[in-house]
C-alpha cells in the first residue's frame, strides 16, 4: 500500500502546488502483524495548514449542534470547499465564555487569508442566522483573524461593541435579540492537515464497522477533526482522467470491483477500502489521533474482517510531517 497517494483529501493539495511528482515507494521494511491485521510499512504524509477554533454557544446544546453542523457542512476538502472543518467536541457550560452549552469547531485552510474569508462567510451564513447562538474564539493562537469585526456590518449602524476582560465583542441586533460575536479569533499556522489511515477489509460491512470504531476513538482526541462525512472517505482518487475536463478521477487500482480488469493494488483478500483523514491543531494531536485509530482497528482485528492498515503519502517529498504507522504502534 506504499503508493496510495491520490486520495480525495489530498489530491486537491497536490494540484494546488501545480506539481505532481511521481510518488516514490516507501522505504523497504517488514510489515507487522497485530491481532491478525497487517500493518504496512507506510506513513501518512501531512501538510502545514492555518487553522482556527470557534466556540458556538446556544440556549440549548441542540441549537449549538445545529449551528456547528451547518457551519462545518460541505467542508471536506480545501480545494472543493475552501476549508476543511469539523466538530472538535461539545463543551460543558463551565467551559464556555457565556456559561451556556456549546460546541467547539475547528476550521483549516491552506493560508490565513483563505481561512479568514471562509470562516467569516460560514459564521455569517450559519451561526449569525441560527436562533439563539453566539460565537467566540476557541483558540489563543499566535495570530488573529477577523470575525465579528467583519460581521458587525450586518448591524447597519445599530451594532455596538463591548470590551470585556480584554476581549472585544460585537453585538449585532437580530430578530430574536442580539447576535454576540467575538471581534477576532485566534489562528495558528502550525496546524497539520492530511493525517490518514487506510483501512483494508474483507467485506464492505466489516470494513465499515471497523472504520466506525476507529472514528469513534479518534473523535475522543482533542484538537482534531475528521472533515469527511462520518469521518470516512470512500472515494480515493488519482490525479487526471481519461476525460480532459476532469482534474481527478476514481483511483481504479483501489476499487475492489475492478480487480479483474485493472492493475489492482489490492490483494485478493481485500474487498473494501475506507480512509480516515485527520486534521489537527498540532503534530502531536494528529499523531495521537492516528494512534487512537490504529489501536481501535487492531482491537477489531482479523476476526472482525480487517485485512490490513496502511497510510497514504506522496513519497515524502511534499509534506514535512510523516506519521509512520510502525512508530505509532510503539
Amino acid at each position: 500500500m506504499a503508493d496510495v497517494k491520490a486520495r480525495t483529501g489530498i489530491w486537491g493539495r497536490l494540484i494546488g502546488w501545480k506539481a505532481a511528482p511521481e510518488p516514490e515507494p516507501d522505504p523497504p521494511g517488514d510489515t507487522a502483524m497485530r491481532n491478525g491485521v497487517r500493518i504496512d510499512t507506510a506513513f501518512a504524509e501531512a501538510f502545514p495548514m492555518s487553522a482556527t477554533a470557534l466556540i458556538i454557544t446556544a440556549p440549548a446544546i441542540e441549537w449549538a449542534r445545529i449551528a456547528a453542523a451547518s457551519l462545518t457542512g460541505f467542508a471536506t476538502s480545501v480545494i472543493g470547499c475552501g476549508v476543511e472543518a469539523g466538530v472538535d467536541r461539545e463543551l460543558a457550560t463551565s467551559d464556555t465564555p457565556d456559561g451556556r452549552p456549546g460546541v467547539r469547531v475547528l476550521i483549516f485552510a491552506m493560508a490565513a487569508a483563505d481561512l479568514e474569508k471562509h470562516t467569516v462567510a460560514r459564521v455569517g451564513q450559519c451561526v449569525l442566522t441560527c436562533a439563539g447562538t453566539a460565537c467566540y474564539s476557541g483558540l489563543d493562537g499566535e495570530a488573529r483573524i477577523k470575525l465579528g469585526a467583519n460581521l458587525r456590518y450586518f448591524g447597519d449602524g445599530y451594532q455596538s461593541s463591548k470590551l470585556i476582560g480584554g476581549k472585544r465583542y460585537w453585538r449585532v441586533p437580530v430578530m430574536d435579540g442580539e447576535f454576540l460575536c467575538e471581534a477576532s479569533a485566534g489562528m495558528t499556522a502550525s496546524a497539520v492537515g492530511g493525517g490518514n489511515l487506510l483501512i483494508l477489509g474483507k467485506t464492505a460491512p466489516e470494513t465499515l464497522r471497523a472504520a466506525e470504531t476507529a472514528v469513534a476513538a479518534i473523535r475522543a482526541v482533542p484538537d482534531t477533526i475528521l472533515p469527511f462525512p462520518g469521518g470516512l472517505v470512500r472515494s480515493g482518487s488519482k490525479v487526471g482522467s481519461k476525460y480532459k475536463f476532469m482534474i481527478a478521477s476514481t483511483n481504479e487500482a483501489y476499487c475492489p470491483t475492478l480487480k479483474a480488469v485493472t492493475a489492482t493494488k489490492l490483494d485478493p483478500a481485500t474487498g473494501c477500502v475506507l480512509e480516515i483523514v485527520i486534521d489537527g491543531l498540532t503534530v502531536g494531536a494528529v499523531a495521537n489521533a492516528m494512534r487512537a485509530g490504529l489501536k481501535a482497528l487492531i482491537e477489531v482485528g482479523g476476526k472482525g474482517g480487517l485485512v490490513a492498515i496502511s497510510a497514504g503519502n506522496y513519497g515524502g517529498k511534499l509534506g514535512p510531517h510523516h506519521f509512520h504507522l510502525h512508530e505509532l504502534l510503539a
Binding site: Y158, K162, L163, I164, G165, R171, G177, E178, L180
Partner: protein, 269 residues
C-alpha cells in the same frame, strides 16, 4: 522579595501628592533618594521621609498606609501592584495605564480619573466623578477597570469612552453622564437621571433610579448574551456580588434620545 512599604508616622498636616510612589518612579532609587522625594502640594516642603517610615523592598509591590489626605495615590501607574491599607483622598489612580491599585478603604473624588488601563479596586465607597475627567478635559475613562465595592458619588463614568466601572452599591446622581461608550455596572440603585446625555455605551442598573430622563425609551425585554459576559466579569471583580439577576431576562431602555439614542440602560426584567 517582600513588598516595599510606606508606614505613616502620623496623620499628615496637609494634603499630599503621592504620585511619586509608583514602581516607575521608585525603580533604582536608594532609600535616601526615596526619602527625599517631595510630596507637598502647598508651600511647606514635605518629603516622603517626613511622612513615612520606609521599608525597602520590591518596587513592583508597594504597600502604603492610607489617609484621606493622600491624593493622587497610584496616579500614572503603568505596572506592578500598589496596595493602600486604608482610604485615600482625591485622584487615586488618575491616568493609570496599567498595573493594579487596590484601596482597602474609601476613595475620594475622581478615583480612576481618565484611566486608560489597569485595575483600580476600591474596597469601600467612592466619591464623585468615579473615572471621570477633571473640568475642561473632554474624555473620561479610556480603558481599564474601576471597581468600587460600596456606593459611589455623583456622575460616575462621566464622559467615559471605554472600559468598565463596577459599583457594588448605589450610585449618586447622573451616573454615566455624557458617556461616549464603555460600561458602567451599578449593582444597586442610583440617584437622578442615569445616563444623562449619554451618546453610546451601557449602564447596567440593578435597582431603581430616583428619577428617569424622559429621553430614554423602553425597548422591551430580551435575554442578552452580552449580559452573561458582563456578569462574569463583575463576579471576577466582586466574588460576593449577586449577578445572577443580570444573566436572565433584562429590560432595555435606549437613550439618551436627546443626543443619539445609541446608548442603553439595562435593568433586570
Amino acid at each position: 522579595m517582600t513588598a516595599m512599604a510606606f508606614k505613616l508616622r502620623g496623620e499628615p498636616d496637609q494634603r499630599l501628592d503621592l504620585s511619586a510612589l509608583t514602581p516607575d518612579r521608585l525603580n533604582g532609587l536608594s532609600e535616601a533618594a526615596v526619602a527625599a522625594l517631595p510630596l507637598h502640594m502647598g508651600k511647606t516642603p514635605v518629603t516622603v521621609g517626613d511622612v513615612f517610615r520606609i521599608i525597602m523592598g520590591d518596587v513592583a509591590d508597594i504597600r502604603i498606609d492610607g489617609s484621606e489626605r493622600l491624593d493622587h495615590v497610584g496616579a500614572g501607574l503603568t505596572r506592578g501592584r500598589l496596595t493602600v491599607e486604608g482610604g485615600v483622598g482625591a485622584y487615586a489612580g488618575r491616568a493609570m495605564a496599567g498595573g493594579e491599585l487596590k484601596i482597602q478603604g474609601n476613595a475620594g473624588p475622581y478615583a480612576g480619573s481618565i484611566l486608560s488601563g489597569g485595575l483600580v479596586h476600591i474596597g469601600g465607597e467612592a466619591g464623585d466623578f468615579l473615572g471621570g475627567p477633571r473640568p475642561g478635559e473632554m474624555r473620561g475613562m479610556r480603558g481599564g477597570t474601576v471597581a468600587a465595592a460600596g456606593r459611589a458619588g455623583d456622575r460616575a463614568g462621566d464622559r467615559m469612552r471605554r472600559g468598565l466601572i463596577v459599583i457594588g452599591g448605589d450610585a449618586g446622581d447622573f451616573p454615566g453622564s455624557r458617556m461616549i461608550a464603555g460600561t458602567v455596572a451599578i449593582l444597586g440603585g442610583c440617584g437622578r437621571l442615569p445616563g444623562y446625555l449619554m451618546r453610546r455605551g451601557t449602564i447596567v442598573l440593578g435597582g431603581d433610579a430616583a428619577s428617569w430622563a424622559p429621553t430614554f425609551a423602553e425597548s422591551g425585554v430580551a435575554e442578552l448574551t452580552v449580559m452573561r459576559l458582563i456578569a462574569r466579569e463583575v463576579k471576577t471583580l466582586m466574588p460576593s456580588a449577586a449577578v445572577a439577576v443580570l444573566e436572565g431576562s433584562v429590560r432595555r431602555f435606549a437613550g439618551d434620545l436627546a443626543i443619539s439614542g445609541k446608548g442603553e440602560i439595562i435593568r433586570p426584567a
